[in-house]
Amino acid sequence: MAVEFSEEAEATFQDLISRYPNNLAAMLPVLHLAQSEFGWISVEVMDYVANRLDVHPTKVLNAATFYTMYNKQPIGKCHIQVCTTLSCALMGGYEIIDYLEDTLGIRVGETTPDGRFTLSEVECLASCGTAPMFQASFCDGEIEYFENLDAERVDEVLKELNEKLEALPLPKDMH
């Protein structure tokens, strides 16, 4: 599939670049937009962004690799990111990882064979008062927080997520 913004994304792109005194400054929001459009940040996507912003491709590569929210590989439709920093660790964050590994049948860093879920461990997500918690990042760019988790709640959340994922494409097929 061609790497080109849809009409709607193009309108967002124009709005984004109008907010900054130069195009380079629009890099972060434009990469977010590109990831939600194209599923992941491939070399083609980086080239496209460089082209659209009229900046050197190394500048895009630089940002795309420095920031952890940009996926340089296609991953699952839903990226479950469990916080295991101190406050969450104290409240059972690692147990949530254990439980998810068992339930999804994968280890941290892996993707389920159906391409639905990728599981990761991440650092503090500013949710320490509602620990343990995880964040679900969808391939359409949406992010949702799930807080005050225990095994029972994780089961419920996975059910909700599975329903939502029916309608989403696999990131690897998004461009």
Binding site: R19, Y20, P21, N22, L24, A25, A26, M27, L28, P29, L31, H32, V55, K59, N62, A63, F66, Y67, T68, M69, Y70, Q81, T84, T85, L86, S87, A89, L90, M91, G93, Y94, E95, I97, D98, E101, V108, G109, S120, E121, V122, E123, C124, L125, A126, S127, C128, G129, T130, A131, Q135, E142, I143, Y145
Partner: protein
């Protein structure tokens, strides 16, 4: 109420209690003034204000009953009000009154009030806000910028999120007042990329503010243009450091800059820039409405104002609470946090995010202020406290935090990049039962070599906590080494801290 007050009008205040009461009354009085001004009596209100300034604070008649000060809410006032994130509800609850009042003051006057308020930066470093503001050049050939640090990422910290999600207009009002006072043309709110809900709420509120004429051109009919944009981060803790934030805003990797020059002189897009934390700016409307002195009085020496405190760990009621500056940690834990959970005994706590030194329960009576917490052996940081119980292994905590900082180091400075990884490795080996006694001195040595030798304060954020765990709980490290194992319950079936480096 009214009679009682006017009765006292002539008397000067005698007791501190009365003084406190008077403050609350002044609030109401100023509100009235603002209302009057709105009704078209600007000149009269201004005159009255002038007259009042020169008098030794006479008591004024109050229409509304002031509630007891201690439990009065400011920053969190709107958290419980349904739909306070919408402009109409915000305005119905007194919103944008402070802005209208501010726009009748000149910039110098506002900066003076902020100085008087003892408002300290709420992002962790505690720099006096008014003084920072006074560093911004008055005249500038290029537009000046306000950059809001909403990158909230310090482990244990989760307060700014509430301000953005539940009371976004308060924050926007604070930004507009700052811009008016400082002659700023543009503002970017740099929000952590993950906090999408906060971004949505802010964007929605900004749109409403444009529609109502609080943003854009000729704000409230005056010769004042100001625009605000939300800028999303993309997952890098180091963008919380103010110059890393500026780099990230310019579209580059968030590698901190050498200082000086400070952002006030050369900031974003090479222009004079004020970087402030979300809570700092959300406090500004209250200072304008009630006066700098009122704000300063709600605190202790050099630390003024109501403040948000976050409580996390095994306490009964974790969460974000509002209380005056200078409250003790014991009161926060017992009164707001409901104490430790049943079966969990307090062993240690971190006062304001993981880069602060760890303290033992004997420091519970320390007051939350930048100087007082330093005297207690730590720092106030972000004032979000992590409580740990007696089941918590201090070696593992130190190792986990070293991994965090290693993961987040931007890599520019060798002591930070290499030191954090090395410290994490040594701590892991002690935790895993392979430690040697000489490792302890080695770790302390490493801390000395990192601290003060790096471009940004992330280096210190590794050295200070790691050293503190070693010094506050030396017996625990020695015990691990002697028995060549960790006596505490594991965090996970499979993982030990030795493989706890986050993805």
């Amino acid at each position: 109420m009214t009679e009682e007050k006017s009765d006292k009008t002539e008397k000067s205040k005698e007791t501190t209690e009365e003084a406190a009461e008077e403050k609350a009354e002044e609030t109401v009085e100023e509100t009235e003034q603002a209302e009057k001004a709105e009704e078209g009596g600007e000149a009269k209100a201004a005159e009255e204000k002038k007259a009042k300034k020169s008098l030794p604070k006479p008591k004024a008649a109050a229409k509304k009953k002031p509630t007891p000060r201690k439990d009065e809410k400011y920053l969190s006032r709107n958290f419980e009000i349904p739909n306070a994130h919408n402009l109409d509800v915000y305005e119905a609850n007194g919103g944008y009154r402070a802005l209208k009042k501010a726009m009748k003051m000149d910039g110098e006057e506002i900066i003076e009030e902020v100085k008087k308020s003892n408002l300290r930066g709420r992002g962790g470093a505690g720099f006096p806000c008014g003084i920072k503001w006074s560093f911004l050049p008055k005249e500038s050939d290029v537009p000046k910028y306000l950059v809001i640090n909403a990158d909230e990422g310090e482990p244990g910290t989760f307060k700014d999120r509430y301000l953005m999600e539940l009371d976004p207009h308060r924050h926007i009002e604070g930004c507009i007042i700052a811009a008016w006072a400082l002659g700023i043309r543009y503002c970017y709110i740099f929000v952590r990329g993950e906090l999408q809900f906060a971004q949505r709420r802010l964007n929605q509120a900004i749109k409403q503010a444009y529609d109502a004429g609080y943003l854009g051109k000729n704000i409230l009919g005056q010769d004042f243009d100001f625009d605000i944009y939300v800028h999303p981060g993309a997952g890098a803790y180091i963008c919380g450091e103010e110059t890393g934030l500026i780099e990230g805003l310019e579209g580059k990797s968030g590698q901190p800059r050498m200082k000086p020059p400070f952002p006030a002189v050369v900031g974003v897009f090479q222009a004079p820039t004020i970087v402030n934390n979300v809570e700092t700016i959300s406090s500004i409307p209250f200072i304008i409405e009630n006066g700098g002195q009122w704000f300063a009085d709600m605190g202790i020496e050099k630390n003024g104002g109501p403040k948000l405190y976050g409580l996390s760990g095994p306490v009964n009621n974790p969460g974000v609470y509002e209380a005056p500056s200078g409250i003790t940690i014991r009161e926060l834990l017992e009164r707001y946090g409901g104490g430790m959970r049943d079966g969990h005994e307090l062993k240690a706590f971190i006062p304001g995010g993981s880069s602060c030194a760890v303290l033992k329960p004997d420091a519970l009576d320390a007051q939350m202020g930048f100087e007082t917490m330093r005297e207690a052996g730590s720092s106030m940081g972000t004032a979000c406290i992590t409580f740990m119980d007696t089941n918590t292994c201090m070696v593992r905590v130190a190792a986990r935090l070293a991994h965090f900082y290693h993961h987040e180091s931007c890599g520019q400075c060798t002591p930070c990049r290499e030191g954090s990884g090395w410290a994490a490795k040594v701590l892991d080996s002690i935790e895993a039962g392979r430690g040697r006694m000489e490792d302890l001195d080695l770790l302390l040595d490493m801390c000395d070599n990192i601290q003060g030798n790096t471009i940004c304060a992330l280096g210190d954020s590794i050295a200070i906590p790691v050293r503190s765990y070693l010094q506050v709980f030396p017996e625990e490290f020695e015990d691990h080494i002697k028995r060549q194992s960790c006596p505490y319950p594991a965090w996970s079936k499979r993982k030990t801290s030795a493989d706890s480096d986050a993805a």
